[in-house]
Amino acid sequence: MNRILGIILTMLLSISVLSSQAQQRRLPSYVGITGGISAPSGNFAKDDYDNDRSGFAGTGAMAGITGVYYFKSNFGIGGIATYNDYGFKGAQSLADGYKEAFDVDSSTVDINGSNHSLNILVGPYYGIPLNSKLSLDVHVLGGVVNATLAGNTVYLEDVENATFSQKKATATSFGLQAGAALRYSVTSHLGLMLGADYFTSKPDFKVENENRPLNAGRIITSYHEAISGINGSLSVVYQF
């Protein structure tokens, strides 16, 4: 994470030096809607039944609102509020694992809900005009991430009263996001943006389980792994 922030700050300095020859003008501020893909990585994206650190998160969608107010110096303050949905990847791994763990003929796993997060982040922006219509907006944001882990219910074939479940779990933590977007001014008031961001947070989940009387089969009672990855976004903004 520190390396990525260092790279972004270096890029900021380099581009600001290079663009010092460009025509100076106040960049338009904007507010708009954003959406795209969200690709988690690390243990959160693993789907290995035998690894308790697996988060079973897949590449999903993100959507929300974005906005920034630029001052005359091309520095601005802004933020985003987004909903990231990572779905659930690897339900088959769970079904196969529980079948083996309990030595039953068959098992069925129902996933309850999805892995997702609600993110509200603010921070400084720096806009670099590239020409009269195109600019590069870079930002480093921090704020609140409220994340949810999907739950699941496991049915063991031909065994009465053996059904057990892991409940959905929710946790809130501090989150960081850093990235850049190319903004094209369609008109003086309408812009299109194409961006990429790296996001990270590390919520501390307490996980509840139902009907787990025995020491058998995968069971997690807490989850404390980084929720990190890359967002790719397309935004439509109103410029002012």
């Binding site: 339900a91 030595d103 039953v104």
Partner: protein, 188 residues
């Protein structure tokens, strides 16, 4: 350019709708043909007062799917009266060479297996399980036991391997039967 704006807005809206309309997922792990059988159940009994006094009783059914009855010719024990015996219950797959050690698998899965013993009313025999699993609290398993004989008598001892995935509670009621065998016991 208005078309581009419209398309971009549509993409964002469709993304939101796609995320909210996804159905909950379900996965099934289906049955697969077994390649391992439980063909032989043995009781290995050792006289606690005379360790050289060792007997093994075997119940054998090499092909449980056909109509051939099991071989019970060796499913017999002759025990001394008023004596304690250390007992091991052993499970084998004798369709393989060398024989498959099913006992080790049951030991690995002891947290949801229980061996149950039932003596007919005329047989003066008490069975006590001496091993425990790693559940919390720990529950008996029955792979290792102690037989205590009383007065001279005879009868049948039923030995049943219960499979109790996520329902083991220390009793023989929950779950299903993996093996159900009988031994003829004579106490003299």
């Amino acid at each position: 350019m208005k078309k581009v704006i419209s398309y971009a807005s549509a993409v964002i809206i469709l993304t939101v709708l796609w995320g909210s309309c996804k159905k909950d997922e379900q996965a099934v792990a289906p049955p697969v043909p077994e390649n391992e059988f439980l063909t032989t159940v043995e009781l290995k009994v050792v006289n606690e007062s005379d360790p050289s006094d060792v007997q093994t009783a075997s119940w054998i059914d090499l092909d449980p799917d056909d109509d051939t009855p099991p071989d019970v010719s060796k499913a017999k024990l002759t025990l001394k009266a008023n004596t304690k015996y250390t007992v091991q219950v052993l499970f084998w797959d004798d369709t393989k060479t060398p024989r498959g050690d099913v006992t080790a698998e049951i030991k690995e899965r002891e947290n949801y297996h229980l061996i149950c013993f039932t003596a007919t009313s005329g047989l003066d025999l008490t069975v006590k399980r001496t091993d425990h699993d790693t559940n919390s609290p720990a529950l008996e398993v029955g792979l290792e036991d102690e037989f205590t004989t009383g007065a001279a008598s005879s009868g049948t001892l039923n030995v049943e391997l219960r499979h109790q995935p996520n329902v083991k509670d220390g009793t023989c009621d929950p779950g299903s039967t993996d093996a159900d065998v009988n031994y003829q016991i004579t106490i003299q």
